[in-house]
Symmetry: C2
């Protein structure tokens, strides 16, 4: 199950985690959440990954049967982990890291009763921090996703038929995503981030506020609280496509705008401002740059252009212009006013300066970048102009 090609990458991650654990005086880190298991164990299984501050990890596996990892120890319930520790003469951790922002309350309390640590700390925060600096293997995964993401977006004009709805256009794009290798599942951090494969917003549906931390919302349909709402695509409408780049476990994020016929001049002008924001950020961003500065720069340019009132929404405005990406779409860092983070080599983030033009729709670009030693490298390379359908 753990492929040889991954073994070195996993050891690199374990080493980084152990270094961080030593710095915080933690002796053990227990992980149970799918994305953290994928990150640290190279596979998603039902069970726990335990990393001591020193030495080799354990894979405590409930299911599936037959996991081939050499470190696999089969258990039926979490309480048996205590028996394994006792039988092997291992010391139980005094300071234990648990995923406090991901485990349910009852899961957390049950694990506390198994280990009875003297002290705990938040494995979610540690993992989100570690995961924000991507390994070379992870960056390769992004490159694969980006290539397929570009390929799918090039097929979008062929998906359009006059008279179709936003949903019908989205279905056609979804099918091409899948044929190009999208895993479908779109992983997010946090409860209730109900989204399906991405977002396609046509016309004034782009003004509908989002309940969650997505840049824009959309009214959604039935029990989906965001996204396409059945709008018929009509002349003069901007169609913003922000569908997931989940072609590997690592998700690239890219937005492009299409038009039905021609748009009003102000839409093209606002779109050009989005590209100007992107260029100015590309010019200044490098390791050490505070993420908050990049947000401030975006807001300053939007203000200079007289577009503050429609920057990142109208009725409700998102208070960030970019976000880390990875196994989940909303990783660290965040490009927001209060962000304390600074860019570092290996970070991968999406930059999405967007404007919403009432009566027209959303315009702007979003691209995924990796932070290199000297600046930014753009990963998503599809054509950035507004393409007429």
């Amino acid at each position: 199950m753990i492929k040889k090609i991954l073994a070195d990458d996993l050891r690199l991650k374990w080493g980084r985690a152990q270094q961080a654990m030593e710095a915080m005086g933690a002796d053990g880190c227990l992980l149970a959440i799918d994305v953290n298991l994928y990150y640290m164990a190279g596979a998603i299984f039902n069970g726990y990954f335990y990393l001591p501050a020193e030495g080799e990890p354990f894979f405590f596996v409930k299911r599936p049967n037959g996991l081939s990892a050499e470190q696999a120890v089969y258990i039926r319930k979490p309480e048996e982990m205590a028996d394994v520790f006792a039988a092997r003469g291992l010391r139980k951790p005094e300071k234990l890291l648990l995923e406090a922002d991901e485990l349910t309350y009852n899961e957390y309390m049950r694990l506390m009763a198994v280990f009875r640590p003297e002290e705990t700390a938040n494995a979610t925060a540690l993992m989100r921090s570690l995961r924000s600096i991507k390994t070379p293997w992870e960056i390769e995964q992004f490159r694969i996703s980006a290539g397929q993401h570009d390929k799918t977006y090039a097929e979008i004009p062929s998906c359009y038929r006059p008279g179709m709805t936003d949903l019908e256009l989205q279905y056609e794009i979804e099918k091409r995503m899948r044929r190009n290798g999208s895993i479908g599942l779109f992983r997010t951090f946090g409860n209730n981030m109900d989204i399906f494969m991405g977002s396609l917003l046509a016309g004034d549906n782009a003004q509908a506020p989002s309940p969650y931390d997505f840049a824009l919302g959309g009214g959604g349909v039935t029990s989906l609280p965001i996204g396409a709402n059945g709008t018929v695509l009509e002349n003069g409408m901007a169609v913003m496509v922000d569908m997931a780049g989940n072609y590997t476990a690592y998700i690239t994020d890219m937005t492009r705008v299409f038009s039905v016929g021609k748009l009003p001049r102000q839409a093209y002008e606002a779109h050009a401002v989005s590209i100007r924001i992107q260029q100015e950020i590309e010019a200044v961003a490098k390791p050490g740059t505070p993420c908050a500065e990049l947000y401030d720069l975006s807001c300053r340019i939007a203000g200079e252009e007289g577009l503050s009132s429609c920057f990142m929404g109208t009725k409700q405005q998102a208070k960030f212009v970019g976000h880390g990406i990875g196994i989940q779409i909303n990783e660290w860092p965040v490009l927001a006013a209060r962000s304390k983070e600074t860019l570092a080599p290996g970070m991968v983030f999406a930059l999405e300066p967007k404007f919403v033009i009432p009566g027209v729709g959303a315009v702007g670009v979003e691209n995924s970048y990796v932070v290199t030693a000297s600046g930014l490298e753009k990963l998503t390379l599809a054509e950035e102009t507004i393409i007429q359908l």
Copy 2:
């Protein structure tokens, strides 16, 4: 946002919840999880639904702006709920229900600090229990889902092309699901239940064990731990289609089997045993029937037919034969040996006696049923024989 048509249904649910709260001596129930919000508030938003043991509920809304519910009270953070209680002279609950199996540990602790109740109880357990008895409006939603589910399944033979893989066939079915109104998102209870729109298992991939509580597994691809694995569809292979009936917020569950060419005789025989199990359960199940009895009946028939070793899997066997369905695919009751539940009118469940034939694939049927006053009513009505592609 709360549609008039739903208002009566919501009042019915609030009344049932308040009755249960009174019986357990709880004075307040605070809900934050999407499926519980949809159930009790008729909409998914970022915030909290608070139901006192007596009187009207509050919708504490963080986002989106402009929620039209008359009960909406806007807050920026959960701590402001305490201010609202104080400002309105409301008594804070002494025994508070919180979603202990769904909220994260940190969310739960933060809400505890806001309300400082003397006692708590598990809102997850209460909601799962209430949600297991569907209201008339909910049963109507299932009927809509079932009709579209049947329609999609009738289109499956037209999706097939010789030489395609299981994934390629699944993509075609997914597109038809979407065109027939599937919301796409497939809601499950529990962490890590990573599945995308359902499961399609061809040939021996049906033997690959599942990490989670799905009846069968499948090897999956990249970071998806279950489902189709790229198997090329070949002559003599059974293709089991178990794609979600998520055409409304209420999911029907239905499995049908297709064959590439003819299958060996034992596959048709096992398929007939699955239908026999279904018929025998249909004949005896009614309000008051213990769910465990239905599981035992299934196992007894599988045993009589000499099929125990391939019932519900081979390398790993699922230990249930049916499960409640609703807004999530895995609701209560569970038809398993240790189930303490008995059938009651308004329960809706899926029955899925399946057999895995090594070298051939999975066979059997799955259907969704509503429990009526006198017995079972089948909701999913697609042709049940093995259909040759």
